[in-house]
Amino acid sequence: MKVFLKLGWFFKERKKEYLFGLTMLALVAILNLIPPKVIGYVIDEIGSRELTSGSLAKWVGLIIVVAILAYILRYYWRLMIFGSSNYLAKNLREKLFRHFSKMSPSFYQQRRVGDLMAHATNDISAVQQTAGGGVLTLFDSVTTGGFVILAMAITIDWRLTLIALIPMPLMAISTSYYGKLLHLKFRDAQAAFSDLNDKTQESISGIKVIKTFGQQREDTEDFTRLSNDVVEKNMKVAKIDSLFDPTISLIIGFSFMLSLGFGAKFIHEGIMSIGDLVAFNTYLGLLVWPMLAFGMLFNIMERGSASYDRIEQLLSVPVEIDDKEQAIDVKPNGDIVFSVNDFKFPGEEASALYNVHFELKQGQTLGIVGKTGSGKTSILKLLLREFEGFDGIIKFGNYSIDEYKKIKLREAIGYVPQDHFLFSASVYENIAFINPKTDKETVERVAKLAHIHDDILRFSDGYDTVVGERGVSLSGGQKQRISIARALMMQPELLILDDSLSAVDAKTEESILKSLKEAREDSTTIITSHRLSAIEHAHLIIVMHEGTIVEKGTHDELMELQGRYYEMYQLQQLEQLVEKGGGVS
């Protein structure tokens, strides 16, 4: 029941619809009481040969009126109640999406997209069911059940009513019990199904390996084994699921027998008529649904409640990084001062960065090198204000980055991430991501800067070619270059290339760097890279190792230093030098 309280805000919002819908539902329940009574009267009048054409017309007319009224009311209450639950689903989905779009990257790091999707689909539909089917079931089983029992007790015989009702609670109890059992078995079946899903996913991702090793048959055997498990687990579900209907008809059967037996006795004693008995039995039939519904209700509510809690929990995750109260509404511009004494990722013990200090003048290029895990990307994450809570200060222009409005900071930074994510849209829309209405000239200009223009022209539909998950597959290098073009569209004060040229060959890399240099003469650029060639010409190079700067300077200075950078450079050169014996010009 608690879930209805939790959803109270919604019921209030849709008060009119629910009141209207429930009133009509109650009216239908009352209308439903009429036909069995009419049948009983007609049978008695037939039995005593009192039926006249006039009274027959009256009874039949009554049923017709009831039927038409019930049809209209039924249509409208459905529209009101189910319509409201549809509206709730829409409303919650919108809220979730709004919320998702405010969450910072750390939120996404801790959760998988699949899980978030599950909340937005399964959980919402469970809540929707509670607000629709749940409300209906609760109200309808109470009203119909109550009215029918009252009608049986008052208009026919209260003793017979009590007797016939004896087996009924069993129905609610057993269906609710089966429901719980079913839930457990169903979970196992779902797990088996999800294993099967994973297996298929894996086989498709690894299809080239499987083909190469000619393992199609063996892989199919493995799949068959898993699908056997699915059958087995589902059979367990089936064995419980199939209990519902027979149990219900058994219990109703008992009820009927009791009412017939005692009804016969009462008729014999002259307390009631045969018509009453027929009406009584028809009423009993009307009770099946409310009893059944009551059993199901608990399961619907339980599921809805758990789902609603999960959604609430998700919605209550605070926006981690928000604007300060008097945040500056200006786009940052100017020199960058990065001065971090210590930074740990939330929930981690080891420092991701310590004693990282450097300054970058406007228009300069910074190169960051170092092994995976040395802290290159952590520096960028702090600069982008994806994480906070470090000891130190990061200044962009005259102010610390957290003084600016978040949106202004983002406006100033063009970020090209390592994982080049493209949307399922045309190449054009992906490049003009910042503003889909950008003119063709500008789009082509940045595409040329990123050296992807010629590639795009070779695509089947040129700039209109759809890429991304549901589009054509591009090579890693092409994706990287499109993401670079996308960032260049912003004409950012600060461009960050996070190992964004790794899938591009050396020749293209050099051309891109060259054209970037020309086009962004006064703007600041930060490049991280495994390949030293990408950062060789930077104004400042920092060498990261285990979270801190171990060397800092220009290429020439670092070479002179003969330290780690020099070693890395030598290593990259070494293999080539070894074979230079061949005598290159």
Partner: protein, 589 residues
């Protein structure tokens, strides 16, 4: 995504017929289940009849002889209990049949996936294919479980009830026959409109989910580019469209489902009462018969309601079925192989005038010819999009080519049997893929011929043993999530061991490009050198330094071989290779 249009009734019928053809292997089980169903229907029809007898012969006339009444009561009770047991068995049986059928369908889909050519995987997102094998077949399961048994049960029960009614009162039964066309009309109308409405709703839902999934995956980008507002608006728009579609569905269900069936029910009651009323003006009517008819009519509407409720599932199963069959009928199969018993013994590879295009428009390989002598190494060099990977794709028979031919040991690659090619050509991919399992299972894959010793030997050979033996469970170390717990270099070494374990005659290498740290790189290079010994090798090289000892280097540019020769020869030519070499060595001219 293709727009899903409603199916014509002919198409629907074809899909249903094809789905039902999966029942064939289960003929016996189906007949048994149907027999049980028949028994339950007989029980259902007999119950009210017994009560009728009780009402007419005993209650109405005040005949209270104990013996016949007890007999009636006992038989009613026994029938009820038997009915419950039999209907339980029947329900379970139908579920079992359905589950087995779906399993078969799934295996068929999975087999088919393995027969598809790479081209299919290029054009179809993995998620979609997975859905065909799992979610869509699951939707079809509902057709077999509930729809099949409900529909059949409904048909049986309705026939049974009509038989009983005809026996009781043929005239009235004839009148009630009018219910059937009414019900069929409703079913017809519902299906006609719901197939459109329902399909729209499903389509909107899948658009909604696609939008959501994509936005979640790309949220970092959306925020970095400050496009939250635009995406919120786009999402709202789809969300609203989905809401409208849901509302239309709710309206349709309200007009045509339960409410209208109840209306027909009342019509039936009106017919009964009118008939009995009018007849009673002339002759006496047995009250029990009225009771029996009323009960039968009540009973009659139970299966009808069940069927109506499941029509939506039926619709969904048809859609899912059509998707599954589209996949099963997909003609983008992997290239066909011949039946020749030729064996690859030498490893001589010849490309002769091979021209190839992925899309049939732009040629990515233009008239490629070259020869690799047994035991030699040929390196493919060129920048991205030059055609290096395409050459490997053709040699591995991932894609079919039409112009030119590739020969191995003088025999066209197309005429070798598939398993011979797979056994003799080993490929190491740029991105080594590890499967869920253990290190050992990843080296063995499913090859039962390999002993544990073979696995260890292979690992030793490629120098993967050092890192494997340091793992807590060594070769039994679990591999999860595609090996993400291992570094890319370690994954690469496992992939090497996997290839070397099969001892191929020809080695195809797609050199890993990025992010392998220097230490592993050294191990990888020396393993590669060992692997190449005595094997014909075709290697894609991104770093020229790794292939300088190759017998032949082919420099590709826009699908053509523009230079070929040894490292020294190519340097002397002062062409593209020379330039690439200088660039990689950081020598500024």
């Amino acid at each position: 995504m293709k727009k899903q249009t409603a199916f014509s009734s002919k198409e629907q019928r074809q899909i249903v017929v094809r789905l039902f053809s999966y029942l064939k292997p289960h003929k016996k089980a189906v007949s048994f289940a149907l027999f049980l169903l028949l028994l339950t229907v007989i029980g259902d029809v007999l119950g009210p009849y017994i009560i009728k007898v009780f009402l007419d012969d005993h209650l109405a006339v005040g005949n209270f002889d104990l013996q016949p009444i007890i007999l009636l009561a006992v038989s009613y009770f026994v029938i009820q209990v038997l009915n419950v047991i039999i209907s339980y068995l029947q329900l379970v049986k139908f579920q079992e049949i359905a589950l087995k059928i779906i399993q078969q369908l799934r295996i068929d889909v999975f087999k088919k996936i393995h027969q598809l050519g790479m081209r299919y995987f290029d054009d179809t997102p993995a998620g979609t294919i997975v859905s065909r094998a799992t979610n869509d077949t699951e939707a079809i399961k509902d057709l077999f479980v509930s729809v099949l048994s409900t529909f059949v049960q409904a048909a049986f029960l309705i026939v049974g009830i009509y038989v009983a009614m005809f026996l009781l009162n043929p005239m009235l039964a004839l009148f009630t026959l009018i219910l059937l066309p009414l019900i069929f009309l409703v079913v017809y109308l519902y299906r006609k409109y719901s197939s459109v409405v329902y399909m729209t709703m499903r389509e909107k839902l899948s658009q909604l989910n696609a939008k959501l999934a994509e936005s979640l995956s790309g949220m970092g980008i959306i925020q970095a580019f400050r496009q939250e507002k635009r995406f919120n608006e786009e999402f709202d728009e789809i969300n609203h469209e989905h809401y409208i579609a849901m509302m239309n569905n709710t309206k349709l269900n309200s007009i045509l489902l339960r409410p209208v069936i109840d209306l027909i029910y009342f019509t039936a009651i009106v017919i009964l009462l009118t008939y009995f009323g009018i007849t009673s003006f002339e002759t006496a009517i047995e009250v029990g018969t009225v009771y029996a008819f009323i009960t039968y009519i009540n009973r009659f509407f139970e299966p009808v309601n069940n069927v109506m409720e499941r029509l939506a599932i039926y619709q969904q199963a048809i859609v899912a079925g059509s998707r599954v069959f589209t996949l099963l009928d997909e003609e983008e199969n992997e290239p066909k192989q011949g039946e020749s018993n030729e064996l690859i013994t030498e490893g001589l590879i010849e490309f002769k005038n091979v021209t190839f295009s992925y899309d049939g428009k732009t040629n990515v390989l233009k008239n490629i010819s070259f020869t690799v002598k047994p035991g030699e190494t040929v390196a493919l060099v060129g920048h991205t999009g030059s055609g290096k990977s395409s050459i490997i794709n053709l040699l591995m028979r991932f894609y079919e080519f039409k112009q030119g031919d590739i020969f191995i040991d003088g025999v066209s690659i197309k005429s070798y049997r598939k398993d011979e090619l797979r056994r003799k050509i080993g490929l190491v991919l740029q991105d080594p893929f590890l499967f869920y399992g253990t290190i050992e299972s990843n080296i063995k894959l499913f090859n039962d011929e390999l002993t544990d010793q073979d696995v260890v030997d292979a690992a030793k050979f490629v120098q993967a043993d050092t890192f494997i033996e340091q793992l807590p469970n060594a070769y039994n170390q679990r591999v999860t999530e595609r090996g993400s717990t291992f570094s890319s270099g370690q994954r690469q070494l496992v992939a090497f061991a996997r290839t070397i374990a099969t001892n191929p005659k020809i080695l195809v290498l797609d050199e890993a490009t990025a992010s392998i740290d220097t230490e592993t790189e050294v191990a990888i290079q020396s393993s590669l050198e060992k692997m190449r010994k005595g094997r014909t090798t075709i290697a894609i090289a991104h770093r020229l330094s790794t292939i300088q000892d190759a017998e032949q280097i082919l420099v590709l540019h826009q699908g053509e071989i523009i230079e070929k020769g040894t490292h020294q020869e190519l340097l002397a030519q002062q062409g593209l290779y020379h330039k690439m070499y200088l660039l990689q060595n950081g020598i500024v001219q």
